[in-house]
Symmetry: C2
Subunit: 207 residues, 2 copies
């Protein structure tokens, strides 16, 4: 840990929010619990949010949560809703999702805010064609992140193959898992390097 107060905003969709989790922690609460009790954390997930929605609110909501002298971090996860078809077209086209990601990372760099991007979890009920499109989007998100020197933790393929994630979602509303699925997602985020990212001083994270 740094000596500074560590402030982390998690922004994204219902999977960030933790919809369906009986403990109301979601994967962010679970990875934070692994970090110890001293993080000042904010969960800004909103169900149905696309990357358009996130981009529209990220900076005003983030700015209300800053403090002088604190070390501010931002964890971003979107794409699962962008990829859902409405009237035969994705809610947000892939090129636009990637442009939104680029805009967010560019502004974060301008503000000297360290960012971590977490890949979009799959919506079980939307099936294989949706999953193929989401995997393609996630790969492209990883490339955008790499070009900005921002870490990306993939979730899509691993959760699509996870028994808890799918069984809990399909036994529920078709999209949102329960404690088992969120625990698995949290494990993937931790295995992907969340704690080293969180505890490395910001100047060394941003390149």
């Amino acid at each position: 840990m740094t000596d500074q107060q560590l402030r982390v905003c998690f922004i994204g969709d219902s999977f960030v929010q933790g919809i369906g989790d009986p403990a109301y922690q979601g994967w962010p609460g679970r990875v934070l619990a692994a970090a110890g009790p001293d993080v000042t954390a904010f969960n800004l997930g909103i169900r149905r949010n696309t990357s358009d929605d996130v981009l529209a609110r990220v900076w005003p909501e983030f700015s209300s949560r800053t403090a002088p002298g604190a070390d501010h971090r931002l964890v971003v996860s979107f794409g699962s809703n962008d990829t859902v078809l409405e009237d035969g077209a994705p809610r947000v086209a892939p090129a636009r999702t990637l442009a939104n990601l680029t805009a967010l990372l560019t502004e974060a760099a301008r503000r000297s805010v360290a960012v971590l991007v977490v890949g979009p979890p799959p919506v079980a009920m939307h099936g294989d064609e949706y999953l193929d499109r989401l995997l393609t989007l996630a790969t492209a998100q990883a490339e955008v992140c790499a070009s900005h020197g921002v870490p990306f933790i993939p979730l899509t393929a691993a959760l699509a193959a996870d028994l808890h994630w799918n069984a809990e979602a399909l036994a529920g509303d078709g999209a949102h898992p329960g404690a088992g699925g969120y625990t698995r997602a949290a494990s993937l985020v931790l295995e992907g390097g969340f704690l080293p990212w969180l505890t490395t001083p910001q100047a060394a994270v941003r390149r």
Copy 2:
């Protein structure tokens, strides 16, 4: 439960946010866990926030979290930071805290949003004189709520007398408890009628 999607925003300070809780649930997460897994909940607590700060952001942040046809609720808790002295004066004078509460309840009624107010928890390290002023403020908050037909759940006196709340805070940063204190706060909110309020259709709650 109503058939409508139930959306609840919790807004306030660090005690709403759950600072110091190793499970990152705070009292809101703990009362929601008692409500079952089907609530769409948003924790909008921000540490150091006064009633001025809450009033400045409540409606934009709430509006981003509404959905067509949903049953929208708002749980509000502030005053602990207002009452802290800076340069010999409270950060927000009691009359202004109450005016902020009145403004919030008036706008909530205009928007047909059902509100529940939770009394301000005490900051252990600030001692008896602070506690006396906070108890007076909490009593006045209860009166404002009564005059608006809004339920108020007091926490101040019970938490000031709670061993976990005080011991955990004084063993930590002087203000924020751990799991024991937040569990006690959640129990008080549940005993104060949170679940009946949450599960009563909105029209019957608002008078």
